[in-house]
């Protein structure tokens, strides 16, 4: 019987092609939008994770235990003994690569005017294993350790009308809580994926920065990446314990997921968008409810005839359910396929948010590459089919309750 009902349901779809197509399109568009939304969020998360790990916090960040408490005062005196920390890190199997860095606020003194910027002291030899700095260079070359050189964000250089070869005097508060200045020559202009880094930052050799900030060879932090498959949260715990054991210092060791408020926000947004996407689809499903209601009114006499011939209400419900399910399967399949197609194309070409991201201090790249999640896409497919099919139950259950005589009388 089910086969017969399925056959009839399938043929019924073609009775009013335009309406069936409209219902399928509504479901398809909703499914496509959800697939693309999830892909965009997934891409955003992957991008942010990559940016955080490369340019901001690493996978795990090691700092002086009091640094965070006084962070707003730029406590460059609260340092990490990079040498002893690195010795411990060398013994931990989970650690893949690490680099020392010092970030600090600075004033760039240019022709009598101070311009605010952020400096990063980095070991350019070690950084080569950590991130592809050379690949981010738009012009010039990387600064060399030991030299008074810097590379500057291309947007910052453009805003300050600076070029390669220009020398800039930098002023900042030192670890001794005094003020110091150093003149660095711009040898390279970089373009990182994150717009805020290009508009605010300059990078200089960490040894020169340590000297300039009177940090006695120490650094503000050591950041590291763990090996593939290792949990940053678990590794952070292990590193903290090892550092305490080996150096007797209680360092502040945190995974990037704990540090970045934006990442937490994205994770929260992920949940919110997931709920919104499903509500959005429920709204899309109202189209199929409407379609089924119209179909029921149109076929009222047929419902009466089937009832008179001895078809039970449950079988009638099954017939309309199957019709809705077929439309949903076709609509969802096309929608999800288009969603996958667009995601794959955009995953290669990217979506350019560079202009709109200017001035926004988020760890998100200007170019966004949606990332397809197979499991979520499969889930969306089944969710869409199930919800849209179940939506037909609302009107068809009502139809099943109509007395055959009333249905037969319906004009």
């Amino acid at each position: 019987m089910t086969t017969k009902l399925a056959k009839t349901a399938l043929r019924n779809i073609s009775r009013n092609k335009r309406r069936s197509v409209l219902s399928g399109v509504a479901i398809g568009v909703a499914a496509m939008a959800i697939v693309m939304l999830f892909s965009l969020i997934a891409g955003m998360q992957v991008d942010m994770e990559s940016n955080l790990k490369s340019y901001y916090t690493g996978g795990i960040r090691i700092r002086n235990e009091n640094y965070e408490q006084y962070e707003r005062f730029n406590p460059v005196h609260l340092t990490v003994d990079a040498e002893s920390v690195q010795k411990v890190l060398d013994t931990i199997e989970e650690v893949d690569v690490y680099v020392p860095r010092t970030s600090f606020p600075a004033n760039l003194y240019i022709e009598g005017t101070n311009f605010g910027a952020m400096g990063v002291g980095a070991d350019f030899k070690k950084e080569a294993d950590f991130i592809d700095l050379a690949g981010s260079l738009k012009m010039g070359h990387l600064p060399e350790n030991g030299k008074n050189e810097m590379m500057m964000g291309a947007v910052l250089a453009r805003d300050l009308k600076l070029e390669i070869g220009d020398k800039v005097t930098i002023m900042s508060t030192t670890a001794a809580r005094g003020t110091n200045a150093i003149t660095l020559e711009i040898v390279g202009l970089f373009t990182f994926p994150v717009a805020a880094l290009n508009a605010k930052y300059f990078w200089a050799p960490i040894d020169r920065i340590s000297y300039f900030l009177r940090m006695n060879g120490d650094t503000q932090e050591v950041i590291l990446k763990v090996k593939e498959g290792v949990s940053e949260l678990e590794a952070a715990e292990a590193i903290k314990e090892a550092l305490k054991k080996e150096t007797s210092i209680n360092y502040d060791v945190q995974a990037f997921t704990e540090i970045s408020g934006t990442y937490e926000m994205i994770e929260m947004a992920n949940t919110v968008y997931t709920i919104m996407a499903f509500i959005f689809f429920l709204l899309g499903s109202t189209v199929i409810i409407n379609t089924t209601m119209m179909v029921i009114f149109e076929r009222m006499r047929e419902i009466g005839t089937l009832g008179a011939l001895g078809m039970h209400g449950k079988e009638l419900v099954r017939l309309f359910f199957l019709e809705g399910m077929f439309i949903s399967i076709i609509g969802t399949f096309i929608g999800v396929t288009l969603g996958i197609g667009f995601t794959l194309i955009l995953g290669k070409t990217g979506i350019d948010f560079t202009e709109s991201m200017q001035g926004i201090d988020f760890e998100i790249s200007g170019m966004m590459y949606p990332k397809l999640s197979i499991s979520k896409t499969i889930f969306v497919f089944f969710y869409s089919v199930i919800v849209a099919s179940l939506a037909t139950l609302i009107p068809s259950r009502k139809a099943a309750k109509i007395e055959p005589v009333e249905a037969l009388r319906y004009v």
């Binding site: 009839t8 009832g307 008179a308 001895g310 007395e403 005589v405």
Partner: protein
Amino acid sequence: MIAVKDVKRIYKTGETEVNALRGVSLNIEKGEFMSIAGPSGSGKTTLLNLIGCIDKMDEGEISIKDVAVSKMKKKEKTNFRRENLGFIFQTYNLIPVLTAYENVAFVLSLLNLGEKEIKDRTMAILKEVGLQGMEHRRPGKLSGGQQQRVAIARALIKNPEIVLADEPTANLDSDTGKEILGLMKQMNEKHKTTFIFSTHDKMVMDYASRLVMLHDGQIQSDRKRRE
């Protein structure tokens, strides 16, 4: 076989009440070829619907084969119709997306019969009603008379003891109507199926072996035609 006892049916439209049947009683024997006639609004379709278990009465009792169908629940009535009753409608009421074969076979599918039995019986009944070679045509590709033949085949396929036909010739020209009536009469004689029509068509009345005239929801006359 069918006992209708003092059946009353009132339709309510807002505050207006229409007495469609005002205490109708009659007995119908097996194999009768009977016509319920009367002007519009006389209650003939209502009586047919009540015998067909697709409507509820307000008072009275109907029993078919000693089963009080008027006291059955909705599900029981559906099962009863499925197994014992055949319907023929004025507008044929075929499922437009199904072929002639499928429209007829559908009734047997409801009885959960095997595919072979369904096929054999469907092909046989379609041949009997003169639709051999038209099995794969959909209703839209059939004439009114051919569609009504499909409807007759659909009503008879499960070998019901009773077939209820509501104005079966009303949408047909007189020649086709005559053909259809001849076919139904033939089936009545061959299968001993009880046929009950509602009609206001003189030709149908003439074909019937028993004619019950209704007027204002009451039986005005009930006479058997001499053979």
